[in-house]
Symmetry: C2
């Protein structure tokens, strides 16, 4: 036993030594990627270089294979290191695509999502002005010489704010970042004669930058006048996705509204069933734990925000009633103990998902493995 | 520009050099942890040492802080490396807690989950016999001298199989691994006079071992006779969680059945709404992408399995009808445009979740960050 402890102790000392060296290398790597960020920012090269990333990972995984070490481990570790490296490069600032811009105005720029835009515009060297509620009296004077106005106010007052912007200079680009697009886009086109576009950033206020984030673009008017803005998003690392406003709203009703609402209902249900959360968690596999977390996280956030999203589109009520009908439809099978009926419906959906189902299974399995690490 | 490219090239060469060294260290570390696995397996020490893990992480993060590198990066990278190290240690086999055991029989041991048990018992040096469907005629002869019989057959035939096991030797431990516990436990107690316990492994067939996995234990009879089995689970790295069968079934109805069923309904709904999956994905933020993946993954799996789980407990129908009522209840607010009503319900649930909501938000945010890496 003493021999065992001695040998285990030796191994652990070796591990500690290796870990120290690993840490040193991580520090060294960050210093170099910081320099890369500085260089790129000087010439305005995008931080996120997908080909370079893929090439790096491929060559590392190939070498991993040869060395009899799990290539998935190598991929996971280096992806995590690269994420940090993008962050360090982000801190170096960005090339300004349009240095002729005199003034960017973000209405509601003090808000959670608005301030992400303010921060990026500022760090890129654009002169940025914010209009908050109490400054609304001076709005007209502030936007008088603006080249870009972004409306980043809560969804329930977006329309009201847009309608007042009739005094914008004609060449000014007008945009909003509301999570619905048809209505605000129509309002902007009605109030302003110049270039107009609708934006929907597909990320929450928690992000530090746009790298690898999707931003939805709905065209309004005079696309050539706002091209610089789309290019700027790309320099920031964003993935611009252009789509019709109606199609966007339809998709959001399906995913965003429906998921938020049914998640809220599930929380409401758990409460009424007097579920014992602590015990549920103790008995949860990683997948249930993650699902519970996805429910619980909703209730740490602003109810007004969710209410605004859910109440923003009255078409959603009909769609959610159709969901209830389908839920009841499937429950009939359970009630009648008709397993075959249930399985038939299940197979229909499996066919409809096709190969995507398998891809989703693999994608989520990697996520669940990661969840396991944290316990 | 030439100067820029040269300097960028130099930086990238440096990064490549650092990455090569990182890879070398990972290989070296795996060699040492493999040796640790061999040592531990010789003396039967558990592979997962929570204190050692925490101590290692703490000291690394502290050093990270001092070196001005993100401690979260360091934690994530080393957690991932440790997960791999557990796997390499798992491959070295385990100490056999009870070498007096003559025979372990796993009925349905060729199945997905059954084979995980067979694999671990075998690698730990227990003599393991499998009974599959076609060998059922010889079952009586096979179990005659068994010390442990584990029923690992599909849930819909568990009861039928258990009822036939009246011929087990009196000292033999009888256990099942069904995802419901009350009914099979009662059936086992009725058919067998000796030690009985119910098990519910909280993981799917994809796992390679028990490390960090939860296994639920429902006591049946003569706990002292099956203590060695619980200890063996611990040596395998499992987290044993003891609970009453009724309470377990209640919790599972809440989490497992309800979530599986409503996820199936959501897929059925998406199909009927003729959703364009590709576009939905393109427009998805990481959180929606993950939610869609959680829906899609269900349909890559065996419908019979899900049908069996959902149809196993008729109490669930009443509970799911209560869910519909609550869903409708909240939808009334939306229909009536009663935002205040919705927000009040939301706040009730937020109060009920208490501090857990914030904890869930943080936990899932880390997961969502990781999802982002993979895009």
């Amino acid at each position: 036993m003493k021999d065992f402890e001695q040998r285990l102790g030796q191994c652990r000392d070796q591990i500690d030594q290796i870990d120290k060296q690993l840490l040193e290398l991580l520090v060294k790597r960050r210093q170099v990627t910081k320099r890369v960020g500085e260089l790129k920012s000087q010439v305005g090269m995008p931080i996120f270089a997908p080909e370079r990333e893929q090439q790096l990972l491929d060559s590392l995984k190939q070498r991993a294979d040869a060395k009899a070490i799990n290539p998935q481990l190598v991929e996971d570790v280096f992806r995590r290191i690269m994420r940090d490296s993008y962050k360090s490069q982000d801190e170096q600032g960005y090339r300004c695509v349009n240095p002729d811009i005199n003034k960017v105005v973000v209405i509601g720029g003090g808000g959670q999502l608005g301030s992400v835009f303010v921060d990026l515009f500022t760090r890129t060297g654009y002169p940025v002005h914010i209009i908050e509620k109490h400054q609304w009296q001076q709005a007209k004077a502030i936007v008088m010489d603006a080249d870009l106005v972004i409306v980043a106010v809560p969804i329930n007052i977006t329309d009201e704010i847009i309608k007042q912007l009739s005094y914008l200079p004609e060449q000014c680009v007008l945009a909003d970042i509301t999570s619905i697009k048809e209505q605000p886009l129509a309002a902007m086109l009605a109030v302003h004669k110049g270039p107009v576009l609708g934006l929907h950033p597909m990320f929450g206020p928690g992000v530090t930058g746009f790298i690898k984030q999707t931003i939805i673009i709905c065209h309004g008017r005079m696309a050539d006048k706002y091209q610089w803005l789309l290019q700027q998003f790309q320099v920031w690392g964003a993935n611009n996705y252009q789509v019709e406003a109606a199609e966007h709203d339809n998709a959001m009703a399906m995913v965003q509204v429906m998921r938020h609402f049914s998640t809220a209902c599930y929380g409401y249900h758990l409460m009424h069933e007097q579920a014992d959360l602590e015990k549920l968690l103790a008995m949860s596999s990683p997948i249930y734990r993650l699902e519970l977390a996805m429910v619980g996280r909703l209730f740490a956030q602003d109810p007004q925000l969710y209410a605004d999203i859910i109440f923003s589109n009255t078409d959603n009520v009909a769609m959610m009633e159709r969901f209830i009908d389908r839920f009841r439809d499937m429950l009939v099978d359970v009630k009648a103990n008709d397993k075959q009926g249930f399985i038939e419906k299940f197979n229909q959906v499996a066919n409809w998902f096709g190969d995507d189902a398998q891809a989703f299974l693999e994608e989520s399995s990697i996520m669940l493995d990661k969840a396991k690490e944290r316990e």
